[in-house]
Amino acid sequence: MTSETTTPMIGRAIKRREDPKLITGQGNFLDDVKLNGMTHAAVLRSPYAHARILSIDTQKAAALPGVVAVFVGKDLLDVNPLPCAWPAGGFKNNMNTPRAMAVDVVRFVGEAVAVVIAEDRFIARDALDLIDVDYEPLAVVVDPEKATQPGAPQLHENAPNNVVVEWSAGNREGTNRAVASAEVVVKERIINQRLMATPMETRGSIARYESSTNEFTLWTSSQAPHVMRLLLTAFVFGIPETKLRVIAPNVGGGFGQKIFVYPDMVFCMWISRKLGRPVKFVEDRSENFKSSTHGRDHVTDVELSGTRDGKITGLRVKTYAGLGAYLSTIAPGVATTLYGRIVTGVYKIPNVSIDVIATYTNTAMVDAYRGAGRPEASYLIERIVDRFAAELGMDPAEVRRRNFIPPTEFPYDNGLGLLPYDSGNYAPALDKALANVGYADLRKEQATLRAQGRYLGIGISSYVEICGVAPTAWANGQGWGAGLWESANVRIHLTGQVVVTTGSLPHGQGVETTFAQIVADELGVPYDSVLIEHSDTAGTPFGYGTYGSRSLAVGGTAMVKSARKIKEKAKRLAAHLLEANPEDMIFADGKISVKGSPDKSKTFGEIALYASVGASMPEGEEPFLDETTYYDPPNCTFPFGTHISVVEVFPDTGAVEVKRYVAVDDVGNIINPRIVHGQLHGGIAQGMAQALYENAVYDDNGQLLTGTLMDYAIPNASMLPDFEISHTVTPSPVNPLGVKGAGEAGTIGSAQCIMNAVIDALSPFGVRHMQMPATPEKIWHATRG
């Protein structure tokens, strides 16, 4: 182990410190938490997508032995509905958020109607069958575009035509002129289907209330415990923030779904206070699918104009974005800012105009899912650019190259109200991907095989995304209602152990390992002496949590800054002990020495001990090495890359085989290559799954037809290929680590990469576009005209 843990640690593919507990069954996930006197909740959920609740009879359920109590929506009217923290685009009093349980009207299948509390989870479930609810069904709309049409069923009185917000960006007149006068215009209706995040651990909450202190503790599977604490106390319960401690135990995957505040958090807290006993609720999988947030759900009409020689002159976009029956925590911002402002992708496009109409539908809430807006944007632009290339009969790699933002134009303003792209150099990533996949030979092979009646397809995707979210002032200008900085406290204990606490937290990303690598290097101390503490609002500084590929770029930078403050103080203390000037002190290799006199030095451990004891501090200095940083980034970061896939489609069966997947990702500097590759693998898998397998389907009655893992096809091991990952490295100038972020890049680059390959394979059949997922049935039909 020694060789694995000696600095420098940055850049080394060390294995993760998170793993020993996870590979031995000691993970301690939410459902593993047991408290004395704990009761168990089961939720009765609406079977109707839209209905008036006429009556609820809970008497028989309450009488079942082992049932402690039954509650309905009307019981919880003394707490507020859940807040929406990102009312992007301005609201005209039409913001509708869910309550812990429905009161008079249910608006999607799976909305909570009643909660049974029992001595064990099995009795609670049994009791659900004894509750009688009388519903009056109402008309239903599930399609985000149809919801806006005259005569569509109305979900909320304050939202005419079910419109949440109408949002636009860019230059409408210029774009209209560009499109009207163009040599070539391609247009397409492109659907980005509804997806379900499907973390392998579902969500849930355990709440405990201490009546002696009026304090709650909430264990919840969350990506943002401090934000949950803020939203639940200040907005839902109207109690001081200090009266709630939120703990995220080991989180079994999030992918966005666990960023948000949910009804179960509220009813578990409320009921635990009411009953004076802890309350536990853990979703089963079908509840996770029906009632936790979904992702995507865009219907878009896009037109791209250009010249015959492949220059793009304009892009006009109109998107209907379904947000579900109510607004989830950050939903409006995902459909607008995080999507619409980056819809030009990696291209310099002189005229762009985008309209987003976000709507209410009788479906589960839609919010951020891995990539959150950027996958929808990159899918859109990369599909329509491929469509443009096909229209011109030009190689899709060449069309991309001709339109890339030149490296000389960074920082680059795309004209859509986004922050400037921090740094980029897109052609080398494309060239490397083309070389790695052997593009020229592949095109020859494709021609040869076509002559034999075999259909090879090659798909290219060049993407850019927004990571390291975000400068608070900018985010506030986008309607975001809070900060987006991140915190880190670094302190050196008397024994020389370094303890880092942060508002950032992992749910599979391995940031305990990555964070320790950067702090060890920054302080010049052994990796094993750095402890990273997180996920508990008690004992960590307020921070905004983990999403938007921000942990390293924002949270990691906060750690670097705290470590640097510690070094400055250590230098002052060493100078005092060595009777030298602080400005003459040099910090290197875990030692602080006097410039020009390397024999005059103190080890970092000696200084830490001296500061921790604090017996003879210099004038004006406090004991202890303990520094906190709240780091608000000056910009986001913009990772990019090119992915190329090779598929074969089989017209007889409609099957698709992914033969190769080559990715060149530029995520800036890399701290731990093994972890970064893992993030890219998983990200690519999720985008590929959208392209080929996954689709969350509601029927016209609002029934979720894909309500279990029998129907919703997240891929197993035999459905995915190996991934060939490499990089270019363009450090971000935004942060001192030069990192950009890797958590979402794979997903943002991959869906269109596969779809472009499938459509390329099918081009001999005249196919120019196909909606995801490219199922065998669709392909079989497509090959038969």
């Binding site: 593919a13 590979i23 593993d32 998983g682 190996d722």
Partner: protein, 163 residues
């Protein structure tokens, strides 16, 4: 109610279980062996896989009462004398896990796979793990992890692939 005597990770337990109690709930709720997870309610995800009398089973679709006189191995029982099993080592060395929720079931399925086929091809590993879902890794490193373990169990020199 049924009274069962079951050996779990080498230790004998005699317990009263409801007729409907599933093995996964017995392990998690009565024996406090929470390393075996529940990720779905339709037997798709495989997070609950344990080994019963030498064969991997989904403990969410096995009645506890059926395990009377059976020998059960869970993820907690895989390491011996403080030494990780080669599969546990492989998953750690090859970054075969991220959030770790699917990992216990994945490892127990792989354990059965390697008992049946000590020298699988990558394709055989992928097909052998079809009953286990992972949402984090894309399976790439899971295949590497199982091959690492397979080689080690065959007595070969092994190291994690470079990245």
């Amino acid at each position: 109610m049924a009274r069962i005597t079951v050996t779990v990770n080498g230790k004998s337990h005699t317990s009263d279980v409801e007729d409907r109690t599933l093995l996964v709930h017995y392990l998690r709720e009565q024996l406090n062996l929470t390393g075996t997870h529940i990720g779905c309610d339709t037997s798709q995800c495989g997070a609950c896989v344990v080994v019963v009398d030498g064969n991997s089973v989904k403990s969410c679709t096995t009645l506890a009462a059926r395990c009377d006189h059976a020998s059960v191995t869970t993820i907690e029982g895989l390491a011996q004398d403080g030494n990780l099993h080669p599969l546990q080592e492989g998953f750690w060395e090859c970054h075969g896990l991220q959030c770790g929720f699917c990992t216990p079931g994945m490892i127990m399925s792989a354990y059965d796979l390697l008992q049946q086929n000590p020298n699988p091809s990558d394709d055989e590993v992928r097909h052998g793990l079809e009953g286990n879902l992972c949402r984090c890794t894309g399976y790439h490193n899971i295949v590497r992890a199982v091959q690492y373990a397979a080689a080690k169990m065959r007595g070969e020199e092994v190291s994690a692939p470079n990245v």
